[in-house]
């Protein structure tokens, strides 16, 4: 099939950027979306021009590197799917496809379709862990964990940190990402000692990074390639309120609690 692509090109962080049209001809329906872009890039390189830069690595939907907005939807039209797993059989001959980078103040564009997502790492760095060093852990079976709780923790832990939730949100909120990590640990006994501290610190860092607020439109859940439920946001809100309340009563650590 033959397609027309409208692709965002931007030389670097400072450049204003704009759309450029490309033709993609003889596209096989077995190709993945990124393989289609590979072929377009081959043509561009053969003409001596610079290829379209886009992030990708594992190409099996788990590393979280790929990050394209296709016709206005992060990761494209299929539910529960990263761009690298989107296949061209989803499109029709003659289609026109618009391809853009994630757009959010916290994710500046580095080049073309590549954005900088260090903000996510920094949120994890303030509290997205259990504070234990290597060595000295008790036997893995010493502490039974109900299957249901382990499953709920796993549902949240499936997050690949791609940032589609932010890209889809009209407020560029990172609530789904942050809440997924908070929820994972909230469901596990290992996460309890730092439960309050964790949510306070991570939310504070999220705000610092310039992500917006959550207004419950749930676009994040709709585009999440791992279909993480907005349930985790409700859980985080509950934990956050509890931690704030305890901090005010003096029974929780008072870290960066700006207000309610």
């Amino acid at each position: 099939m033959n397609l027309t692509l409208k692709i965002w090109r931007q030389k670097n962080r400072e450049d204003k950027g704009g759309f450029v049209s490309y033709k993609a001809n003889d596209v096989s329906t077995d190709m993945s979306f990124l393989e289609m872009l590979d072929i377009v890039n081959e043509g561009i390189i053969e003409r001596g021009e610079e290829p379209i830069a886009f992030d990708h690595d594992c190409r099996e939907g788990i590393c979280g590197m790929c990050s394209l907005v296709i016709n206005g939807v992060p990761h494209g039209p299929d539910r529960g799917t990263t761009v690298c797993q989107l296949h061209m059989r989803r499109f029709r001959d003659g289609d026109s496809i618009t391809i853009e980078p994630w757009r959010s103040r916290a994710f500046p564009v580095l080049r073309d379709l590549i954005v900088e997502r260090g903000a996510f790492d920094r949120i994890i760095q303030v509290g997205g862990y259990v504070s234990i060093n290597t060595g000295g852990a008790a036997d893995g079976n010493a502490l039974p964990i109900a299957k249901k709780e382990a499953d709920l923790a796993m549902d949240a832990a499936a997050c690949i940190g791609c940032g589609a939730c932010v890209a889809a949100c009209k407020n560029a909120s990172a609530m789904l990402f942050v809440a997924a990590k908070v929820s994972q640990f909230a469901h596990l006994p290992q996460g309890q000692p730092e439960r309050e501290l964790r949510v306070l610190k991570m939310v504070e860092q999220m705000d610092k990074e310039g992500f917006g607020s959550c207004t419950n439109t749930f676009e994040c859940e709709a585009v999440c390639p791992k279909e993480i439920s907005v349930r985790v946001i409700a859980e985080m809100n509950r934990d956050y309120r509890m931690a704030i309340w305890k901090a005010r009563c003096g029974s929780a650590p008072n870290v960066g609690v700006g207000g309610d």
């Binding site: 979280g64 109900a146 382990a150 796993m154």
Partner: protein
């Protein structure tokens, strides 16, 4: 240059590691602060090492080429991680895990290393649980297990079909904690382009900032490479597109020995190739072989749809050939069996290069919901890629390059022959011999990073008291100059062909000449063809853009250029290892039933290749493998 001593401690096998830990020198806590360590790579090995070293008090600089350490390709490991916990009461033990691993590797790994791996395996599970890794659990709340290839016990721990992801996120969280504490400086989108060796000791690295193009030097008291394997030499593999050999190959060119490069694992269960456009292949976890049955039609050229082929006209060839292990025969054996039935014209799918992996019986026995719980994400992935629903029609699978057992030579302390250069995880050669068993890569990566390197690096620092070099020293400047020169040379080749097209051609050459079945004629032909294609690459490749910017074409070109040189080392190794063992199947050497025929007289050793200058054939050295505890035997899974 002979191969240095392996440093394997004396004494009984089971107490070697204990004894060694006691004998190694320690760095006292106050002095650890004075040392700095570079860790390249942030996969399971790199992240766990960087975090553990920082916890001990060392200054760590960690580098990865992705935008975040969490993206390293360990994340894509699906099935699980082995540990000798014997939670299932099915007869597992440290010795059994050790023996299975040695046997699975066709008796081509170092005994003491493998035993140590089995010893620390249990601690890895404990550590990960403590980090909050959500392993699968039974209703009683205890950890669940499943079986993997090459073992008759259930010792594999898993987190749905995303075990690698969860373990990596555990290590990433430990690493993130240290980054937050300021003990690790993380350098993302940074690619190591060379190693700096001063007076024979590893002193630092040279990197390129992939956003700005800046070439920079970094100096430290020790350098650790956890940069993964070289499967992408074959162009099509299950590795991430960015995986490359550059870090280990550059270290090789600076004097590190490259061990057993010809040991390349071809994984039996991947989604078959559909055409020229394909950029990578996707693995379907080996865990599927717990419940799936592998078959092809009995008669060549049978083009009926699978549901129209009656039971007695199907050949469940693994169950027929290996009744005691059945569908859980090791990877190399299962891959060759698939190739064999396809060569006989019994392959399925459009190109006849595929076999069925069928869940009909398991679904009938266990119900669709159980299958969905166990493998839901894998079935989903399969459907995305092929457009077929594996709950209704059998999967079609075919072997693909997946993992490389070869890597830089290391001693028992995981140090290469260059003092101060340590190599961990898939990047080293040490634990899997000629074939790796499923769920052992995660085990080895984390064993190296959490429980082995943190001790051995301390011993090196305490006993050699290295003097830190300055990045302004002449040697750093010289290496930086060479890196710049090479980039300039790549950008000046204004030819007509894309780098990717060269890579694809090189990969095909390797798959044909040095793939699942190898023979002297094919290897010689490959060795004759690589050189001319490489020359053409340097003349006719087209690499647009310039070096002081984010340039994806340039990144790819540098990696492919190194693959071109490394390909020859691999073929030399495959040619000179004139025996079959594990994944290395020389067609000249097979038993009457088609199994690999080892030659323990001549080849019971590690082959270590030394760089001897561009254009020269590398020199082959050997480290003899001595087995104190086990008897060499013909590997049988029948």
């Amino acid at each position: 240059m002979p191969v240095p001593a392996s440093q394997v401690p004396s004494g009984p096998l089971a107490s070697k590691w204990d004894k060694h830990r006691f004998e190694m020198k320690l760095v006292n806590p106050a002095n650890k602060r004075k040392f700095s360590v570079i860790v390249v790579g942030s996969g399971l090995a790199g992240s766990s090492a960087a975090a553990s070293l920082a916890e001990l008090g060392y200054h760590v600089d960690c580098f990865c080429y992705q935008d975040s350490p969490r993206r390293a390709h360990s994340i894509a490991a699906q099935g699980g991680i082995n540990a000798a916990k014997n939670y299932q009461n099915d007869g597992d033990s440290v010795y059994r895990l050790f023996y299975d691993t040695i046997k699975g590797g066709d008796f081509r790994a170092r005994e003491a290393n493998v035993h140590r791996l089995a010893e620390v395996s249990g601690g890895i599970i404990d550590q990960c649980v403590a980090q909050g890794v959500p392993f699968a659990r039974e209703y009683g709340g205890l950890l669940a297990n499943r079986s993997f290839g090459g073992a008759q016990v259930s010792r594999t721990f898993y987190a749905r079909g995303q075990t690698g992801q969860q373990l990596l996120l555990g290590a990433y969280s430990a690493l993130s904690r240290q980054i937050g504490l300021g003990t690790v400086r993380m350098h993302t989108r940074s690619e190591m382009l060379d190693l700096v060796v001063v007076n024979g000791v590893a002193k630092g690295i040279v990197t390129r900032d992939l956003v700005t193009g800046k070439i920079e030097s970094w100096s430290a008291d020790a350098v650790v490479l956890g940069t993964g394997g070289y499967s992408n030499l074959y162009f099509l593999s299950t590795n991430a597109v960015g995986c490359n050999v550059t870090a280990t190959y550059r270290a090789y060119k600076r004097g590190a020995l490259f061990a057993n490069p010809c040991y390349v694992q071809i994984h039996p269960t991947c989604i078959p190739v559909t055409g020229e456009h394909q950029s990578k292949l996707t693995l379907m976890s080996e865990s599927l072989r717990n419940d799936g049955r592998i078959w092809v039609p009995k008669h060549p050229g049978d083009k009926r749809s699978p549901d129209a082929i009656p039971e007695d006209e199907r050949d469940y060839y693994l169950e027929r050939m290996y009744p005691s292990y059945g569908n859980l025969a090791p990877r190399d054996i299962s891959s060759r069996a698939a190739k064999k039935v396809c060569d006989e014209g019994r392959g399925v799918g459009e190109f006849g290069r595929g076999v069925y992996l069928d869940f009909a019986d398991a679904t009938q026995l266990l119900g669709e919901q159980t299958i969905r719980d166990r493998y839901g994400n894998l079935f989903h992935m399969y459907e995305k890629i092929t457009g077929e629903n594996p709950y209704r029609v059998p999967m079609r699978i075919y072997p693909a390059v997946h993992y490389t057992m070869g890597g830089l030579w290391v001693d028992y302390n995981l140090m290469s022959n260059i003092p101060g250069l340590f190599v961990i995880g898939e990047a080293n050669f040490s634990d899997h011999g000629a074939n790796r068993l499923g769920a052992s890569a995660l085990m080895q990566g984390l064993a190296d990073g959490y429980f082995i390197l943190p001790y051995t690096i301390g011993h090196y620092l305490a006993s050699s008291k290295p003097q830190r070099a300055s990045v302004y020293d002449a040697e750093f400047k010289r290496v930086e100059g060479e890196v710049n020169e090479r980039i300039k040379r790549l950008l000046s080749t204004r030819g007509k062909r894309t780098v990717v097209s060269f890579h694809r051609e090189l990969g095909k050459m390797m798959w044909d000449g040095c793939g699942m079945g190898r023979n002297a004629a094919g290897l010689k032909k490959a060795l004759e063809s690589i050189g001319p294609l490489r020359e053409q690459f340097w003349k006719d490749a087209i690499i647009p853009g310039d070096d002081e910017e984010l340039n994806v074409a340039l990144e790819r070109a540098g990696r492919v250029a190194d693959f071109f040189e490394f390909a020859e080392v691999l073929c030399h190794d495959a040619l000179e290892r004139d025996e079959s063992c594990g994944s290395h199947f020389r067609e000249e050497h097979q038993l009457p039933d088609g199994e690999a025929k080892r030659d323990d007289e001549k080849f019971c050793h590690v082959a270590c290749w030394e760089f001897t200058g561009d254009g020269n054939k590398p020199t082959r050295h050997i480290e003899p493998l001595e087995f104190e505890s086990i008897q060499l035997a013909v590997r049988s899974y029948k």
